[in-house]
């Protein structure tokens, strides 16, 4: 069981952050950033099924309604970093996304982890 888990994380994709300083979200508080992300996703049809503050202070939005049993989420960190999580067919994919790339977040959620 554990080797399956390890394998799934080994294949996870992690994009490097673009220069975080040139974000359109510069100067926003973490609460404002979370609201901005929620509003943006809501306008594209993504309303979180579960929203929580994690034990480490990030805000995690979870979406369970994906086709083929896909579970996905967006982890919004207090420092402005965004992480998109997609769990599909037992595979976990983790994408780090800059706050000025909200379109990419929506694309990843729409396509179940596929960037296009």
């Amino acid at each position: 069981m554990m080797s399956e888990l390890e394998a799934s994380f080994t294949s996870a994709k992690e994009a490097k952050f673009p220069a975080a300083a040139d974000t359109g979200a510069k100067g926003l508080s973490s609460w404002e950033l979370a609201e901005m992300v929620k509003d943006y996703l809501a306008k594209r049809g993504f309303t979180a099924d579960r929203s929580s503050i994690t034990g480490d202070g990030s805000q995690l939005l979870q979406f369970f309604g994906g086709f083929d049993g896909i579970q996905s989420g967006v982890d919004i960190f207090p420092n402005g970093e965004l992480v998109v999580i997609v769990r599909k067919a037992g595979m976990n994919q983790i994408f780090e996304v800059a706050p000025n790339e909200l379109e990419r977040v929506a694309t990843l959620l729409t396509n179940g982890g596929s960037p296009t």
């Binding site: 888990l5 390890e6 994380f9 996870a12 994690t54 480490d56 990030s58 995690l60 579970q71 769990r87």
Partner: protein, 216 residues
């Protein structure tokens, strides 16, 4: 050798859980940890996290160290204020599964000019330490390690990956564990009041019944 713990001052925590003179011991890989978390609605999975899970240092209770009289619900006692967690739920994490976790951070790979790997990815693993407190002898902590050392900071993507990995471990016993709750203990006066109310209720029912019989 660690010193014995000071006395537990919270009376509502059973004595069997107090550390007293007992010292810390090693946690075996055949053990289970019980971790409390905010309750999820019935039938809902953990999905991407165990609510409230702390990546760097997560508390839990050892099943083995707690012994045969121990219960999973013991993790629902609050050992600082005595304001216990009656509404929380419990996740079970087998120690063997925690120790087997390996999460590489692919952003830390360093490549040579020809594309070959000069330094492989830093890998996150976990250790489980028994850390008894005065009121909770089976208390343990799960620490994240980066290439064997405790990191000061964990990258955002790795934090999400770690939370997801632990949620997947806990998911295997989600249904079974969602049944466990800490029972509220009634005080002596409350129990007497409930018994008196039951007696008065029964007496009134008997009187009403007898009056009906007398009126026939």
């Amino acid at each position: 050798m660690a010193a014995a713990q000071p006395r537990c001052r919270i009376r509502s925590i059973p004595r069997r859980l107090h550390s007293g003179a007992r010292l810390e011991i090693a946690v075996g890989s055949d053990d289970n940890l019980f971790v409390r978390h905010a309750a999820l609605p019935p039938g809902e999975p953990y999905a991407l996290e165990i609510p409230g899970h702390r990546v760097g240092d997560q508390s839990g209770n050892s099943e083995r160290i707690n012994g045969s009289t121990g219960k999973p619900q013991d993790v629902l006692y609050d050992t600082k204020t005595g304001d216990h967690y009656f509404d929380l739920q419990i996740a079970r994490l087998p120690v063997a599964d925690i120790l087997a976790l390996r999460i590489p951070n692919e952003n830390t790979i360093i490549y040579n000019k020809d594309g070959s790997i000069r330094e492989p990815a830093k890998v996150f693993s976990f250790e489980v330490k028994h850390e008894p407190t005065p009121c909770m002898y089976p208390h343990c902590a799960i620490y994240a390690l980066r290439d064997g050392d405790r990191p000061r900071k964990v990258a955002s993507g790795i934090q999400s990956a770690i939370r997801l990995a632990f949620a997947q471990i806990a998911e295997r016993s989600r249904e079974e564990m969602s049944e466990y709750r800490l029972e509220r203990k009634q005080g002596c006066l409350a129990r007497i009041a409930i018994m008196l109310a039951a007696l008065v209720g029964s007496a009134i029912a008997i009187i009403v019944h007898l009056r009906r019989l007398a009126l026939r």
